[in-house]
Symmetry: C2
Subunit: 121 residues, 2 copies
């Protein structure tokens, strides 16, 4: 058992790299990850899973092909599987992601922003 | 697709019943639920799934048989499957739960605090 509460602020204080999700908890085969993001990510999709974005601080735009969903602190959005999306943050934004273990941040697109999976903090 | 951002504060403004989780989003076969809690819940376990508690406002004590985990705003805890727990909130507390669709709030214990599942708000 993960024995103690997970404090988001404490976890965020431990890293500063952008677009590189860190695992903070696991439930069944799902992982909760924190990330700091700023600037433009890449267009990608996850063909096999939905993906949850929760904004804990700042503002995140999730560009979809037909519209942009803007998330503020205390808001979440589920990107359905197979739907292309591009996260963009005009200034630094702190987010939580929820998705199955093993999901790669750049999905089917790869590229230099691809982060290692299953990195706990 | 759930088309717009889900705002926690806006969702919380729509209900006041205690210990009665409301679904606000679905990812694959998992649901994100909000609940207002105050007082003592019942001892129960979920034999088939872990359960995530995230405190959005206030303080929640999760009593386990061998200790108590206290969660404040911005903290989460995963109760492993099969582990008996009893949530207690000394004053009103706003939480988010994440668990598979169909999970009953009182688990294997039943009783008068058992809430209907799959109630969206």
């Amino acid at each position: 058992m993960q024995n103690s509460p997970v404090n988001f602020a404490e976890k965020f204080s431990k890293f500063n790299d952008l677009w590189s999700p860190k695992v903070i908890a696991e439930m069944n085969n799902y992982q909760f990850k924190l990330a700091k993001v700023e600037g433009e990510f890449v267009w990608h999709e996850h063909p096999d899973t939905d993906e949850v974005f929760i904004v804990l601080e700042g503002q995140l735009d999730i560009e979809l092909r037909d519209k942009t969903v803007t998330l503020h602190e205390g808001e979440m959005f589920v990107v359905p599987k197979g739907v292309e999306h591009k996260p963009v943050a005009k200034s630094e934004c702190k987010i939580m992601l929820v998705e199955p273990k093993g999901v790669v941040n750049t999905g089917d697109s790869g590229g230099e922003l691809t982060a290692e999976t299953d990195v706990w903090i």
